[in-house]
């Protein structure tokens, strides 16, 4: 086996040194009746060339070469090549959690820079070293608000990513945290009046997403005011990190739970991604996850360490703020490098391109379908309603090697034949025009079919 660095003679010598006859003697502690006396029934050992070919084949069966208009919590942005060049360095790739600070300064300093940049972008004072993803970060942020407020119930916007809501439900169910879901208005934003009514002295926090699942930017200041008036905290989930380049961050929030996938992390069929929690300094001791802090060594030189570990499971066990241990360090490094590459000016220009492409697409599509939620600003997603079921339209788009917007009927049945479309800097004008043309075609044929029907009826 090519990964094992021992010759048969080495093994013999080692067994002799240990004082046993065969390696099976070392497995004697396992009761005989349980030992597996056959080969595992799994594929045979493969050569590297065979493995590469097997996965290339799977890649060909997996949408390779399609143009996509999908977003909905997973965004296709360009990934500068320096990201993979740098994260492939073995010193980053094959290191463990930086518990031994003296020989982990590379990882520690890069996390410190990551925390700093997340603070700058979100307007918060502290950020942790990463969480699993945006959905679990949102659930953990809510649990954090419950601990901080001493209250238990949670008001959740229905425009929060539906899968984030499902995850929160799973987490909340067994912790006696009642959830109330607040519907949205015609402009795609949370219904403020309903929110106001649903907040009680038992409400620990309000959880909204902005830009929300429809791509609509919420009026966070107004939501914050309502929540704070009643002593509830405001947790804001951000699923599309690139929006932070041009959309004012939710500075009035108490906790921000982010998905940073847009910052240089491959779509990868849904993971691994990079969750982050950011908050005010006064809340830091209830924050889950790892934190890197600056300190000095014996000679007074600047250095970095994992800090405030007394919040964590390996010290506090059942009294910890969370059970999180492994996080997403290498993915956070991708995010860090992406933020460094684009920086202060690039992130803004990048976000502006997303905005422009989406504005163009929405105006082009509006000639053939109905654009919902026009009454509020949006970032890089929009909802189109057509007379044809978007699943059927998407079926035709697939023939043109295009993946259309996400049909919303599964999550929001009342919206009818609506789909959520996304444009990023990667979406070309010609792709938008082609997709719009195909929608126009189907709408025309639907119209004429309907007219025919009406004719017959008459």
């Amino acid at each position: 086996m090519r990964y094992l660095p021992k010759s048969p003679a080495d093994r013999e010598a080692m067994l002799k040194a240990i004082g046993v006859r065969s390696v099976d003697d070392l497995f004697a502690p396992i009761p005989g009746e349980y030992r597996l006396n056959r080969d595992l029934k799994i594929p045979r050992q493969m050569a590297e060339s065979e493995i590469v070919e097997w996965f290339r084949q799977r890649s060909r069966e997996n949408g390779d070469g399609y143009t996509s208009f999908l977003g909905a919590g997973a965004y296709f942005h360009y990934r500068p090549v320096v990201i993979d060049a740098l994260i492939s360095r073995g010193e980053f790739l094959t290191a463990y959690t930086p518990y031994q600070a003296e020989i982990s300064q590379g990882t520690l300093q890069s996390i410190f820079e990551f925390q700093t940049m997340i603070c700058e972008l979100t307007g918060m004072e502290v950020a942790n070293a990463s969480m699993y993803d945006g959905s679990t970060a949102a659930a953990e942020a809510v649990m954090m608000a419950v601990r901080l407020s001493g209250r238990r119930s949670v008001a959740v916007a229905r425009t929060l990513h539906p899968e984030y809501r499902e995850v929160l439900t799973t987490y909340a169910t067994h912790q006696n945290m009642p959830l109330s879901v607040i519907n949205f208005n015609d402009d795609g934003r949370i219904n403020i009046e309903k929110l106001q009514k649903s907040i009680t002295p038992e409400t620990a926090c309000v959880l909204v997403q902005s830009p929300n699942f429809f791509g609509t930017i919420e009026d966070v200041d107004a939501i914050a005011e309502i929540a704070h008036k009643q002593g509830a905290m405001l947790v804001v989930s951000i699923a599309e990190a690139v929006s932070l380049g041009i959309v004012e961050p939710p500075r009035e929030a108490d906790i921000i739970a982010m998905e940073a996938q847009s910052f240089g992390v491959p779509l990868g069929f849904g993971g691994p991604y990079c969750g982050v929690i950011a908050t005010r300094e006064k809340n830091v001791r209830q924050m889950p996850g790892r934190l890197v802090g600056q300190t000095v060594d014996k000679q007074g030189r600047r250095g970095f360490v994992l800090t405030l570990a007394t919040r964590e499971q390996h010290i506090r066990r059942e009294k910890a703020t969370s059970n999180i241990c492994t996080n997403q360090a290498l993915v956070a490094l991708m995010v860090n490098i992406f933020m460094t590459v684009y920086g202060k000016v690039g992130l803004k220009e990048l976000a502006k391109q997303n905005l422009a492409k989406t504005a163009y697409a929405a105006s082009t599509f509006s000639k053939h379908g109905e654009i919902l939620f026009g009454g509020a600003p949006r970032f890089n997603e929009f909802v189109v309603r057509t007379s044809e079921d978007p699943k059927a339209t998407n079926g035709r788009l697939l023939g043109h090697k295009m993946v259309g917007g996400l049909p919303l009927a599964k999550f929001y049945p009342e919206l009818g034949h609506a789909a959520l479309w996304c444009c990023t800097e990667m979406t070309t004008r010609s792709a938008i025009d082609t997709a719009a043309g195909l929608i126009a075609e189907s709408e025309r044929s639907m119209r004429s079919a309907k007219e025919e029907e009406e004719e017959v009826a008459r």
């Binding site: 349980y34 799994i42 050992q45 010193e91 463990y96 300093q109 799973t170 499971q313 490094l333």
Partner: protein, 496 residues
């Protein structure tokens, strides 16, 4: 007297400030293509939601970014540099083919919501890995959704809760041995259970008599790591399982130490009802400085209805798809389907090994741990003489007499060119030195390690201060952790 350090030498590594300290207006590492649609008036589109300023985000060029992160990387120790014997972390070689196949276009860029029709490749990867892990664990069904080991534990406990609820009696307690990882009790609390500690016996194993006394119909499950954190296989595992099952409880196995068992014994065969695996330990996906991980949970048939949704199924037309119609499911534990990129890497590792390679891997991991145990016996105190599987736990009892503790020895080990072992864990061994070499170490590397550890033991006898002041060869010396926690500085700011 300074002893020779045959493995480590000093090499040039350069100082490097924070990226913010290199920033100046007008430098850039990015270039966007020309916009092919009309420009927009952002103020008009966004109104008061428009952001005007991005604060202190850096402005630097590409070469500075490459040098910045390359220089930082040289301050890290890594498996690629040498032995990394962190007990219970399984720091094994991370094969590069894993990385290559994870970056193949259709795999790296697949969108989680793309139609199933053009997702057959990803679904096939999920299905193939699932079937293999089911065979390895000897259980009946699996979910790959949990993002890490602790997340797998949470998923497992929620499944246990749902199961007992379906039996008409949700139970209250989880039993956890005192040797367990901290994640176990933290997870039990998150799942809404109370935790009851279970004492270990003189051999470092679960005390079966106490288990019998503590087990009752309020206990939902026992969370057991096997081999446990002492590297000891629970020889009375069948009795443990019987005691739990007799009172309707379940046996949950923390699979952190599965590297000792793959291909030699299957948890499903010795009475385990459900367990999580750590793909980043046993199945070679890189630790990456602390993640990403992946924590699949395998279960017995009776627990299958409670698995998180969706699950991958074969549809009547023979293609693969997701099944969301799972009325008894605990729900989702994560958006989308889990850390798919880690599934790809773990599967590539398993393919490179095959059944014979996996068995040899396990045998070598156990052989290595026993070789180190033999080499260090006498130089360090071995609190439990029970046979060792994949890791061995010593204590600093002999060195403590000279005022040298496990952390000091660990820091000195750095000067010899090794990453330290796990210190001060498990909690049942005061001053623990927990050593897990994994199968990835050659005899030569381990001989150097044993020499280094013996040399440090001699230093402790002759001049303990040398050890107490270590390390000497690192970029920074011991860092002031107390100051870091007392007045936390958690971000750079221009005014400091």
């Amino acid at each position: 007297m300074k002893r020779s350090t045959p493995k480590a030498t000093r090499h040039v590594n350069q100082n490097e400030g924070l990226i913010f300290e290199k920033s100046s207006p007008g430098k850039a590492a990015w270039k966007l293509p020309p916009l092919d649609v009309p420009e927009v008036d952002t103020a008009k589109l966004l109104g008061s939601a428009e952001r005007k300023d991005l604060g202190h985000m850096p402005e630097v060029s590409e070469i500075e970014i490459i040098r910045h992160f390359t220089r930082l990387s040289t301050w890290n120790y890594a498996i690629d540099l040498g032995m990394y014997p962190l007990g219970s972390c399984t720091m094994k070689y991370n094969p590069r083919v894993n990385e290559a196949v994870a970056r193949v276009e259709g795999i790296a860029n697949g969108h989680p919501y793309q139609p199933e029709k053009i997702s057959q490749g990803a679904l096939q990867i999920i299905k193939t890995l699932s079937e293999i892990l089911i065979e390895i664990t000897g259980l009946d069904a699996i979910t790959l959704q949990p993002a890490a080991g602790a997340h797998g534990e949470l998923t497992g406990l929620l499944i246990i809760r749902a199961y007992h609820k379906s039996q008409g009696k949700p139970r209250k307690k989880i039993l956890i041995p005192d040797s367990a990882h901290g994640t176990n009790p933290a997870t039990a609390a998150m799942a809404g259970y109370s935790v009851e500690n279970l004492k270990s016996n003189a051999l470092g194993m679960v005390d079966v008599a106490s288990l019998e006394l503590q087990m009752n119909e309020d206990v939902a499950a026992l969370m057991l790591t096997n081999p446990n954190t002492l590297g000891v296989f629970e020889q009375e595992i069948h009795k443990i399982a019987d005691i739990l099952h007799a009172k309707g409880g379940l046996l949950y196995m923390d699979g952190a130490n599965m590297n000792a068992l793959v291909g030699k014994v299957r948890p499903g065969d010795f009475g385990v009802d459900l367990m999580h695996l750590n793909l980043h330990k046993t199945f070679s996906t890189p630790h990456g400085g602390g993640g990403p991980g992946s924590g699949p949970v395998a279960v017995r048939k009776v627990l299958e209805p409670f698995l998180p949704k969706p699950v991958v199924v074969t549809k009547p037309d023979g293609t693969l798809g997701f099944d969301y119609q799972r009325p008894q499911s605990i729900g989702r534990v994560r958006a989308f389907y889990g850390n798919f990129g880690m599934f790809v890497r773990a599967l590539a590792y398993i393919q490179a090994n095959g059944p014979d390679g996996l068995r040899q891997t396990t045998e070598d991991a156990v052989l290595n741990a026993n070789y180190i145990r033999k080499g260090l016996e006498g130089s360090y105190d071995l609190p439990y003489a029970t046979p060792t599987m994949h890791e061995v736990v010593f204590s600093d009892k002999l060195q403590a007499k000279k005022g040298v503790r496990t952390m000091d020895i660990a820091k000195r080990l750095i000067d010899y060119g090794f990453h330290p072992y796990t210190t001060a864990f498990p909690l049942i061994v005061p001053g623990a030195l927990m050593i897990e070499p994994t199968e990835s170490e050659s005899k030569e590397e381990m001989d150097l390690f044993v020499d280094a550890m013996k040399s440090i033991a001699a230093e402790v006898e002759e001049e303990p201060q040398t050890v107490l002041d270590a390390p000497y060869s690192t970029r920074v010396s011991r860092l002031d952790e107390t100051a870091a926690a007392r007045k936390p500085v958690l971000r750079w700011s221009p005014n400091v």
